[in-house]
Symmetry: C2
Subunit: 214 residues, 2 copies
Amino acid sequence: MQHTAPSLRTRVRRKPQRGHYDPATIAAIIDTALICQIAFNQGDSVHCLPTACWRVGDALYIHGANNSRLTQTLLDSDCSVCIAHVDGLVMARSAFHHSMNFRSVVIYGRFVAVNAPDEKKTALTAFVEHVSPGRAALVRPPSDAELAGTAVLRLALNEAAAKIRNWGVEDDATDLDIPVWAGVVPLRQHAGQPESDAGAAEFTPTALPEWLIS
Amino acid sequence: MQHTAPSLRTRVRRKPQRGHYDPATIAAIIDTALICQIAFNQGDSVHCLPTACWRVGDALYIHGANNSRLTQTLLDSDCSVCIAHVDGLVMARSAFHHSMNFRSVVIYGRFVAVNAPDEKKTALTAFVEHVSPGRAALVRPPSDAELAGTAVLRLALNEAAAKIRNWGVEDDATDLDIPVWAGVVPLRQHAGQPESDAGAAEFTPTALPEWLIS
């Protein structure tokens, strides 16, 4: 396990005991994400935009239309990517000690374009498999025109940090007699009842990632 | 309803039919969020950090330790704030037409410090009420020292845009005979069984926001 930050800017300074730098911890947080937020500068502004993401090996992938602002700008400058899951509401006996349990990752670096058709296809297949394991083999694969119109971008995970809070209430000793419920309300993202498109084949319950259904 | 973007940088350019600029739509998306991501520049880097947020009136609020990098830096430069909810996996018959249903808001501007003790108290009370309606009256309110150690920051919502996708599969007509399930798998954030702290009073089921339990 890696205990030190890979760079000064990834070092968790606020509450450093919550910082984690080992690749397995970072990968696990990314692998239960559907979207990330990307901070980048363009023109006179800093921007924060959400986009779908997935991981293959030691890189984060995103995709978009070839002519989109996001995919074009990201190739020209460094960015910061954030993924954050809220796992629980920590309800303390004082307003001050309320908190949230969470798992987050922040990544720094510059995206590179995935241009080789084989790598692009592999990455897009991994995206379909990320949202629905086993599905890539069942759907129509991308046509050459669809592939050409899609930009796939890859960001190395070698400058990343995770931050995790996953414990209970930390009340002041003098507050413990306050007669209010205190504890953690766990939160999770969960799949509901699938809504079938007209004429679709039967839904297969196993076709969702375990972390969305278990 | 406001149909035009409040500024050039908030105009939704990619798929503009998904853009919304009316305050009620923007407020509703913020009001079902627990965290936002903030993009800002500091030193030689752009950063993307998550933090808890809530809304009062026409402003977004965040808080943090008075000596934290985030709260200090944000007062000195413009930022961009993103809130994004993934509402569903849109499973098409082709890999290319897979999509996600989502509601997102992007806000531009500069945070200002909330220094007046009364406004600070009101804002922090609203935060407790946001995560647990009715709870602020039951817990110990912040002491003067706790208030002094907490920075509360406010960002006006007058330069913001929402983007929403909330419909079904859009397959090519030539793909409709592919024998694979297609449709939308709705996703939502949901509260699980509360985990009581030792010695805590009984949990009140109504003490959670409707959007986390219904």
